[in-house]
């Protein structure tokens, strides 16, 4: 009997929340349009592929060999020759202005020294202020130089009458799961997780604070309603909305960004449900603690967005972090769902390989749920 009464009350609250969301344009925008906008914005803005690195060339030799070398750079899609310059000062200047991030300097007598069998060197200047691009560009240079040297050596040997030489060890790499190494394939699943974390906490962060601000909480708390009934009544509709958002964002990833979905969507959905229960409870917790809509929104965004980006391992590798920070990352639910997302979408693995993540997400949902239930007060503020 008591359980039936509780269920009736939970349903009544859920239904009421649903009517309120439906009637409030702002809530609709927040819960349906915002996730789409965020996903599009992030996915287009966060492109980590380093392509078409702009280069300045200072060719002091102007020989056939120097031209060969420089062509092997300009023939790839990784570099774009921005300017040919006549002195070092110009390179400095171009790097300072940010017009180019790399300069290639071919020394005088490059060809003649090579022909006389002497060791020659080519100088590469890279703008290290953007260390990601610099590292990647440096990597490109190394591999281009490697094949340039190999071709040169082969040509010499051929000329000396030795042919049919093959390198003793041949490297044939094949990239699994993301064959073309397209960064969008790991960016988009991560973004979906971050957007879901923000949205789910954001929409629930308003529910309790709005009732306190409008004074309706004062009426509600004089009724025999219980804490857990308010909690579940508020949780259910917003988790459903968030699950709907998940369908939208995953579809966008699949259809607009052509991110593969190799595993089971149902499994992804069920694991995401655990995640959303946790993050939505976080929103309810924030809302009960602040009792102010403006504060709740700010807190919800900061508490979900920053850790999800910084501490989830999404952008910055966790194993490079100091020990204490590594421990903190265990408290960031996005960390687990990003792994799940990539595993299911890109690798096509099943839930059976994702037990650790499932356990941690369940723990997170239970602990945050319990705290927010405790935080939810049906008494007037002191």
């Amino acid at each position: 009997m008591k359980i039936i009464h509780s269920a009736t009350r939970i349903l009544a609250i859920a239904e009421k929340e649903w009517i309120q969301v439906r009637r409030d344009g702002r809530s609709l925008i927040l819960s349906i349009l915002l996730p789409v906008l965020l996903l599009l914005l992030f996915a287009y803005a966060l492109n980590m592929d380093v392509k078409r690195v702009s280069v300045a060339i200072f060719d002091q030799d102007k020989s056939a060999l120097s031209r060969d070398l420089l062509e092997s750079f300009s023939n790839t899609e990784y570099f774009r020759v921005q300017r040919y310059v006549r002195n070092y000062r110009e390179i400095d200047d171009l790097i300072d202005r940010g017009t180019v991030i790399m300069g290639i300097v071919v020394p005088r007598n490059f060809e003649s020294m090579y022909k006389s069998g002497k060791h020659v060197s080519v100088q590469i200047l890279i703008d290290g202020s953007d260390s990601t691009s610099a590292t990647v560009a440096g990597g490109y240079v190394k591999s281009i130089m490697f094949s340039f040297n190999r071709d040169l050596r082969m040509r010499d040997l051929n000329r000396a009458g030795i042919s049919g030489i093959v390198a003793p060890v041949d490297v044939r790499s094949r990239v699994w799961y993301n064959e073309e190494l397209q960064s969008k394939n790991f960016i988009v699943p991560g973004i979906i997780v971050i957007v879901m974390a923000i949205i789910s906490a954001l929409i629930t962060s308003l529910t309790i604070s709005r009732e306190w601000e409008r004074g309706t909480m004062e009426t509600l708390i004089t009724t025999p309603v219980r804490k857990y009934e308010v909690y579940f009544g508020k949780l259910v509709p917003y988790v459903l909305i968030a699950l709907f958002d998940l369908i939208i964002t995953v579809s966008l990833g699949y259809f607009v960004f052509s991110v593969p979905l190799r595993g089971s969507f149902i499994e992804l959905y069920l694991i995401a449900l655990l995640f959303l229960i946790g993050t939505s409870s976080l929103g309810i917790m924030i809302s009960s603690a602040t009792r102010s809509q403006v504060l709740s929104v700010q807190a919800a965004i900061i508490i979900t967005y920053l850790p999800s980006i910084i501490l989830s391992g999404y952008i910055f590798p966790i194993k490079n972090m100091p020990g204490i920070v590594q421990i903190i990352t265990y408290l960031v639910p996005a960390k687990y769902l990003i792994t799940v997302m990539k595993g299911i979408a890109l690798k096509g693995i099943g839930a059976s390989l994702l037990w650790t993540q499932i356990v941690f997400l369940t723990l997170y949902a239970v602990v945050v749920g319990a705290i927010s239930l405790k935080k939810l007060s049906l008494k007037l503020p002191e």
Binding site: Q20, G215, T222
Partner: protein, 308 residues
Amino acid sequence: MAATVAVEKLTRMFGSFTAVNSIDFSVSRGEIFGFLGPNGAGKSTTIKMLCGILVPTGGKGQVNGFDILSEQEKIKSTIGYMSQKFSLYDDLTVRENLRFFGSIYGLEGKKLSDRIAHAMDMAEIGNRGDEVVKNLPMGIKQRLALGSAILHDPPVLFLDEPTSGVDPIMRRNFWELIYNFSEAGKTIFITTHYMEEAEHCDRIALIIAGKIIALDTPARLKGDLAYEVYSFSVENFIEMFDYIQSLDFVSETAIFGSDIHVLCEKGFPLKRELGALMKKKNITNYHIEKISPTLEDVFVTHARKHGV
């Protein structure tokens, strides 16, 4: 007869500020009990403690036989509460609000729809049941809030300044509803700062700065007044008010519309004394008569006595 509501030494502090200062009273079944006092006197704080949404810092009390310190859950299902500020859901329709609160009170099926129909009927919502509450006039909102508070047919109603902000006609309608509840045996605890409203109550407690300074029926409160009250009307009464206030045989003065109420010791020949003074001032166009005291006279006298 067991009291429906009773408190002893009930106290509530907010930090070092004492909002309610050790008050005692009891309300019996079917009574309309009024709490009369200025804003900030502790009326709402008292009502909130009785409804179980604010914890007292001292004293004890019971509502419907349930302890206000330990049995708030039980109290909540046997009371109806109407807050000072309209606090139903603005963005829901009348019917949705009633459905929601009805379900929260555990009503369902036919019982729920019957009670909703009854509440709408009582509140004279008419055919506006499907309108969003936000768009309704204040008077209807107020009656809707009352309707919502009685959905589960509670034996006790707590009404916190229910008629503030509604016009006098609406206020009268509202009081008719309250009388009906009282006749049906329900206990009503109502706070107000309108004197004429307090006259409708069976008993009133005057509360100032957290303390009850007088508690009785309106008639007895007025009868117990230690002074006689005269109504004095004169041209430029504002200037005259200061003058009369300064006279040493005048105990209290208060402005009522364009009249001045003058209070003096019982048996004092005020009419004659004041008449002589007026003659001296060459004022002939005045009128003075002895009247029976109003609650406001009682209130002002008590308030002055307590240094407010």
